[in-house]
Symmetry: C2
Subunit: 93 residues, 2 copies
């Protein structure tokens, strides 16, 4: 067994992941505001890629036992709701 | 300060990241093999997205002090070399 171990505060792991989620939430907000400006295209792919990146981070954190699965799923679910709002707003504009 | 802390073995973090990198390496290999079959398109976007996901995982692991920056960069650099090989092979086919 390795003696090279790190003591990780779960708070810190959670805070880091929440900060990354917040950045994506802000990207979504910017997109929402841009809906009124037809010259600004929807960067759906950018958002999808960012969401995928965060899901990989969260998955890794769960595997490392730094956050529990429910917490991780909740962070993603919150962003997905926000993204669904954006999609609805863009369809109905 | 939180008392909810996890003791994380850095070996485990490294192994998890290497396993994820290996999955992408295999995806690249499959693409290499498919170059001889023109009916199979190159999934560059899929690979790029996978690479981005891994880079987010590694970045998180570095921030959590689970791997050092050089190790993380080496994992990505190795895959990027492999990806460059694929691009070259696909251009020259």
């Amino acid at each position: 067994m390795s003696i090279d171990a790190a003591l990780v505060h779960r708070d810190q792991a959670y805070d880091e992941l929440k900060a990354d989620a917040e950045k994506i939430r802000q990207l979504i907000e910017v997109q929402m505001e841009n809906l009124t400006m037809p010259q600004c295209p929807l960067y759906e792919e950018v958002l999808d890629t960012q969401m995928f990146g965060l899901s990989r981070e969260i998955d890794f954190a769960i595997r490392m036992n730094l956050i529990d699965e429910t917490t991780g799923k909740n962070i993603m679910a919150e962003l997905e709701r926000k993204l669904a709002e954006l999609h609805e707003a863009s369809v109905s504009k």
